[in-house]
Every structure is written in C-alpha cells, then in structure tokens.
Amino acid sequence: MEEVTCCVCRRPVGADAKRIGGRCFCAYHYAKATQERPSVWRAGLLQIVGLLAFVLLVELVLGLTDLTLDGWPLLIAGIVLSVVPALLWLFFFYQQDRLEPEPKGAVLGVFILGALLAQALGIPLVEQVFDVRRWLPLGTWSHVLGSILVIGFIQEFLKYAAVRYAIYPTLEFDERVDGIVYGTAAGLGYAMVLNLGYVLDIGGVDLQAGVIRIVVTALAQASFAGLSGYFLGRAKFEDEPVWWLPGGLSLAALLNGLFTYLRGELTTTGLTLSGGGVNPWPGLVLAAVVAGATFALLSFLIRRANRHTLAGADAKGSVAPEGGV
C-alpha cells in the first residue's frame, strides 16, 4: 500500500491526514496552505499607491526645480528609477510581513531569476528572434495577436518558470498565496531588466516620461506574474485538472498581450506643431487599474478558496487550524 505523505514536506502523515482535493498535508502545512496573509494584499495595495506617489513626486520635483540632466547623471538617474519599484515592493512586503516573513533569500532569488531570464532569454527572443518592432505595428490584428502570442507568452512563461522550477518544489512554497508573492517577485525582476534595457539603450531617459514608463512596466509585469502565480499556488495545494496551469498561463499571456497593445494605442498621439507623439499618462492609469483589479481579484479568490477549505474541514468535523502550528 502506498505510504501517505505530506505533499509539501513529504513526511509520512498517516491515513487520517488532512486533504485538500487529493493532496495530503501534515497539520502544520495544512494550516500554512489555508492561512490568510493580509500582509500580502496590504503590501500589494501599498505598492500600487506608493508607485503612483513616486511618479507624482518625481514629476513634482522636475516641475518645481526645472531639473535637466544629461550624460552620466541622466543615465544614473534612469538606472536608479528602474530599481525603485522592486525596492518599494520589497520594503512594503517585509514591513507588512514581519510576523512570519518569507525567507529573504528565496524572494530575492526568484527576483534575480526573473531578471536573469528576462536578460538571457526574454529580451533576445522578443527583440531579435521574433523582431517584433518590425512587424507588430503593420496591422491591428497582427499587433493584438502578436502581442499575445509572442510578447505575452514569452514573458509570462519565463516568469512562471522562475517560480515553477525554482521555488515551487521547495518547502518555502507552503501557502496558496506564495504563488502570488513569488510571481510578483519574478515579475518585478523581469520589469527591472526591461526598464534597465530601456534606459541603457537610449543612454538615459527623459525623466518625466521615463518614470511613468518604468512604473507602468513594473505594475504590469508584477500583476500578470501574480496572476499566473495564483494558478501555481492553487495547483500545488489543490486537486486541479491538467488544464489549470496552461489555462492560468494563457490568461496571463492574454492580458499581457492586450495590455501591451492597449498601452501602445493609448499612449501614442498624433504629431503636432508643439511636438508630442507620446503621452504616457493614459498608460499609467491603465496600469494602475489593471494592477488594482488583479490584486483585488486575486485577494478575493484566495480568501474564498481558504474559506471553502476551512468550511469543508469544519463540516467534516475535523479541526480547522488557525495560524501556524
């Protein structure tokens, strides 16, 4: 007869083990898997508000001081701005998550892995192999479909892979919400490299437009990676069908592609005598709405799943643990 083991720590748990779907848990990991983590949602909300405040602050400083940078100072300012979204999230996350924090090494590792995958595979695939700049703008349908099939799937798969093949099989991934936490970390790593590439490619950045672009990229990448992370979190601790993970990745890629297309459409303006060509503000509004809606939806879904699990356990007369064991 097959030995019954906890699906997280692989320790033998006996025949009366707690289960979620077909997966058995020891008491400790059952409690962890169904644990509420309001700190994650608070950190996500603070991140969105913090990034919007960061944009307004930079715009205010630039407006009041008439600051103009060029050469090395501009490049360094661009690099610093690229790193700020990730630092802000880490700050908020660990500030909110002081009681039972995720291991810093694991979060940082996934963040760095997301960044490395972006630099080693993501950007070369999108920019060189598929050379999207040459053909995406040639038609509306090619733009929409190409954004989904190429940009969406490449970016979302690499962020998904950073979580799935690095942290997901380990003991650190022991809560449903961990998929969102580590997905967000991978997304911010990916976004940081995209932003650094943008800044370095043009040898600096127009600070006013640049800070908005950097924040938009960070919000979008974090949101979509959080979404596929949600599917990973459910897949590890529940009895989900085979299509669950491909479905989650497809949804993230679809939203990523549609966002890429819409951002391009919303931020591109006609040329006028006073210049222009790009107005980044609508992109920021879109990114904030997408990030807010995504995190609100994920928060609702995770809480609902935890409620269902605990209610099911209560109905069966088993102990529904509160907090860690």
């Binding site: 083991t5 779907g21 059952y30 169904t34 099939l149 799937f153 491909p246 099911g312 356990a313």
Partner: protein, 203 residues
C-alpha cells in the same frame, strides 16, 4: 479508513495520481508555449512577407510586391516599391527594362546603369558581378555600394551607406532589370523581399 476532506473538491485522488497530473500539467504548459510561439512565428511570416500582385508595361510584366510598401509606377523605372518604415534610407525594389539585341552582351545594360548612378551619387563602387540561375535561366547579378547624402541644407542627417543589387534577366529584344537597394545595415534583413520579388516576376 477515515480521511478528513478539507475542501470543496472531493475527488480524493491518490498522491501518485496528483503527482502524475502535475507532470502532465508541466508538459501541457511547455506544449502550449511551443504552440503559441509557433503561431507567433507564422503570424510574423504572414505579416512581414505578405505580397500584392502588380502588372506593368500593359500587363507584359507581372509579379508580387510587398503589401506594406509604397508603390510608384512610371516609365523608368516601371515600378519603384519602397518600405516607408525602413529608416533614413527606404529599402526599395525597382523594376526597369532596357532594349538589348540578341547578339549583345547582357552586362552592357548593367554597365550603362552603373555609369548613370556613378554620376548621380557619391562614392559609387561595384563590388562583384556574377552569373546566377533564376527560374532555370541564366542572369547577371551585380552588387554595388554608394553613399547617399541628403543635400537639403535644412536637414541634419548623416549620409547613409547604401548597398544594392542589379539583376539582369534577359528576354527577347530586351533585358528586365530588378534592383534592390537598402541601407548596408539592413541589407541582409530585406534580401528576402528581393528574392521573393525576383521569383514572382513573369514576362
């Protein structure tokens, strides 16, 4: 055996089945990404290499030209198609004819074209002349380069090094010349348009 069920799912699959399902899900994700990227590649090919039919010289010469390119028809050249998105120097395909008696050397029209160009552009240089096979017949192909400088005093733009190919296809009493011109940096990128254009021409 009493097992507490702590969820709305109650299928109660064994851990082995769950692990097997995880593996299938992993493969399904990889398959999905491969299919998506394959479709992306197909979409890229269909978008970049979409062609429209054209006919010039009262329908005597016909073929296919890139769909997203701008087209101008005239006497010489008969057709000029250019890619408006290809940077400071627009990648272009030109089609022209020159009379040629049966006993004449087919490279003569190319030499005459080279002389015309050498007088009109800066630093014109012929790189190589080869015999190539096109659709079962022999053609002469000449590669050249020159510098294209914008002489407009109000335009602040660096000169562009242009690389080009003339391909002379011999016909009865004439030679059909196809020319491909591109910025030297994007020459290889657009070469497929030239190849497809040449392969599509019928006269």
């Amino acid at each position: 055996m009493s097992v507490s069920e702590g969820t709305r799912h109650s299928s109660g699959v064994s851990p082995t089945t769950a692990r097997r399902r995880d593996r299938w899900a992993d493969w399904a994700v990889i398959l999905l990404v491969v299919v998506a990227l394959g479709l992306g590649l197909l979409l890229r090919e269909m978008t970049l290499y979409r062609y429209d039919a054209f006919a010039v010289a009262d329908g005597d010469i016909s073929g296919r030209v890139p769909a997203n390119w701008l087209r101008e028809y005239g006497d010489d050249p008969l057709l000029r198609a250019r890619d408006p998105r290809s940077g400071a120097f627009n990648t272009a395909l030109l089609l022209r004819t020159r009379p040629l008696a049966a006993e004449m050397d087919p490279t003569l029209p190319l030499q005459s074209l080279a002389l015309e160009r050498a007088g009109a552009v800066t630093a014109y240089e012929t790189l190589e002349t080869d015999e190539v096979a096109v659709g079962g017949r022999t053609a002469i192909q000449r590669t050249f380069t020159y510098v294209q400088a914008d002489r407009n005093p109000y335009v602040d733009r660096l000169p562009v090094v242009v690389k080009g190919v003339d391909l002379a296809l011999q016909d009865e009493g004439r030679v059909v010349i196809v020319t491909y011109l591109a910025d030297v940096d994007t020459f290889d990128e657009g070469y497929r348009y030239f190849r497809d254009f040449v392969e599509s021409i019928e006269f």
